[in-house]
Amino acid sequence: MEAADAASLAVHTQDLAKRYGKTVALSGLTMSVRRAEVFGFLGPNGAGKTTAVKLLVGLARATAGQAWVLGAPVGDLKTRRRLGYLPELFRYQGWMKASEVLSLHCELADLPRAGWKSEIAGALETVGLSERGGDRVEGFSKGMQQRLGLGVALLGRPDLVLLDEPTSALDPVGRHDVREIIRKLKDRGTAVFLNSHLLSEVEQVCDRLAVVDRGRVIATGTMSQILGQDGAVRVRVTGLPPEGRASLGSYGSLEDEGEWLTFRGLSQDRVPELVSDIVNQGGRVYAVEPRHETLEDRFLQLLKEQDR
């Protein structure tokens, strides 16, 4: 892809690789994140998720490949003004007040001074720290630091926000708040790159996702593309002759557990046809249960396929 094509995307990487000495952290990462979408970057620990984000924000230099952020090559100083970033493991200056940390980042992000006050108040309110703006950061819990970090990432209405495990230190209320913040960001046209190993989080907020393992994208697409359009159906049947069972294989991959038959890869439209076929062959149907594959099922399956 040329740089001109990359301009229409929030993030684009082409064969991006990173090696630390002999350790390969990322090998040949190719992916695209569209503008104003919530993109989930999902992978097990050590898959190279944080390395990828660090390359995108210029904290580390790629060993090979190319990457563009908001249409500019990574590291471009001007583009960084339109970028918000919440690192995974970070700390702010403990001797500063929360409002001072935000003020420092307003200054570093080149925001017009006249708008700082409202930016800071807005950020504190969004992350639920309005009452703590005057307190020193050293007294903050890990969760509060993470909330402050999110507030810092939101300053100046960035076009792209990269969140690296944003809820790792948060309680359930905090996690819910973060999901709401991400939805609001999307509504106002901000692209969100969500780095996470929390499947439920990704499942609930992401438009598209990439599954990464050992530094490579192993699946990418919308949630339904990743999960597969066709679900599975479980049917409880008695009285079906063995030859009848065998003929049902044409509906999808069949798992025979005695009375329970599970058909995978079966389009929901064909369920009535299946039931009528079973009845015609002398079977008695007691239950028909559509089964949706969860992201966890699919994720584990993808990783297993990689191991083969």
Binding site: Y20, K54, V57, G58, L59, A60, R61, L77, K78, R80, R81, L83, Y85, P87, L89, F90, R91, Y92, Q93, W95, M96, L104, H105, E107, L108, A109, D110, G149, V152
Partner: protein, 281 residues
């Protein structure tokens, strides 16, 4: 302009972490105690004003040595963690993705630390000189230049620690900078002995050490401006007896050497920038 933001942040941090307050209180205590000590000199039995003057000039050099030591060690302790601990704690992860160059962070820190060092050297030096003058009526020939050299010694060591801080852990960088500081000091003594006995090998070792680590050279620059001319003449007449005395300087620092020190600081800053810019975080 972000460079000045980081410089301001560095000074603010020193103030908020009570480093400035602790230094100010301890320094004031030292100045009061030494001034009282100096005020005892003229009251000693049978002492002549000329003897008071000689004693005061020698003691002034020793007090200056103490301040230069405090400044050198303090500069190392503050500079060695400056970049390294920001990386270790993750503070750098939050700041560097902003539209700021790594060089601005580095030079900003250097600037902030240099201001702190200069401020401490000038204020403590000025107060100490005033205290000595009040106690003995003695004032060294050129205290302002001497203070400037002591400040420069701190800045040189801070620059070295800052360079090490771009790659090494705070502890490691700090220890290396301090070892080099003391090696430089011994190198200076070797140079004095080599010159007195005209041994070219020892002279070369001493000159090499002064070029590589200019802290001792600057210390000798400071001493020279604290020595009254009559004392200097008497010391020169003593010849070899004074060889290797780390509290005596025979001559002012030559201009090419001063230019080398400026170049040395610039070279180290360029190296530090290069090293920090290439570091993966």
């Amino acid at each position: 302009m972000h460079m000045l933001t980081i410089a301001r942040l560095t000074v603010l941090e020193a103030s908020r972490r009570k480093l400035l307050l602790a230094l100010a209180l301890l320094t004031l205590l030292v100045i009061v105690l030494t001034s009282w000590g100096f005020s005892r000199l003229p009251t000693m039995k049978g002492v002549t004003p000329a003897e008071v003057r000689v004693a005061a000039s020698q003691l002034t050099i020793l007090v200056a040595f103490m301040f230069s030591g405090v400044l050198a060690l303090g500069s190392t302790l503050v500079a060695a963690p400056s970049i390294a601990s920001d990386i270790e704690s993750g503070i750098a992860l939050a700041i560097l993705p902003r539209p700021i160059r790594r060089s601005e962070v580095l030079i900003g820190k250097w600037l902030g630390l240099a201001v702190l060092i200069a401020l401490y050297a000038v204020l403590s030096g000025l107060l100490e000189m005033l205290g000595i003058q009040w106690a003995t009526a003695y004032l060294p020939p050129n205290p302002a230049t001497a203070i400037a050299f002591v400040a420069a010694e701190g800045i040189v060591l801070m620059t070295l620690a800052l360079l090490l801080s771009t790659r090494l852990a705070p502890m490691t960088g700090g220890v290396i900078a301090l070892v080099l500081f003391f090696v430089g000091w011994i190198g200076g003594i070797a140079l004095g002995i080599g010159q007195a006995f005209q041994n070219s090998t020892i002279i070369n070792i001493g000159v090499g050490s002064r070029l590589l680590i200019p802290t001792d050279g600057l210390w000798h620059g400071a001493i020279f401006y604290l020595e009254p001319s009559d004392f200097l003449a008497a010391a020169r007449a003593a010849g070899r007896v004074r060889a290797g005395n780390p509290f005596f300087a025979d001559a002012a620092l030559p201009v090419p050497y001063l230019l080398w020190i400026v170049a040395w600081i610039l070279i180290l800053l360029v190296l530090a920038n290069w090293s920090f810019a290439r570091r993966d975080l």
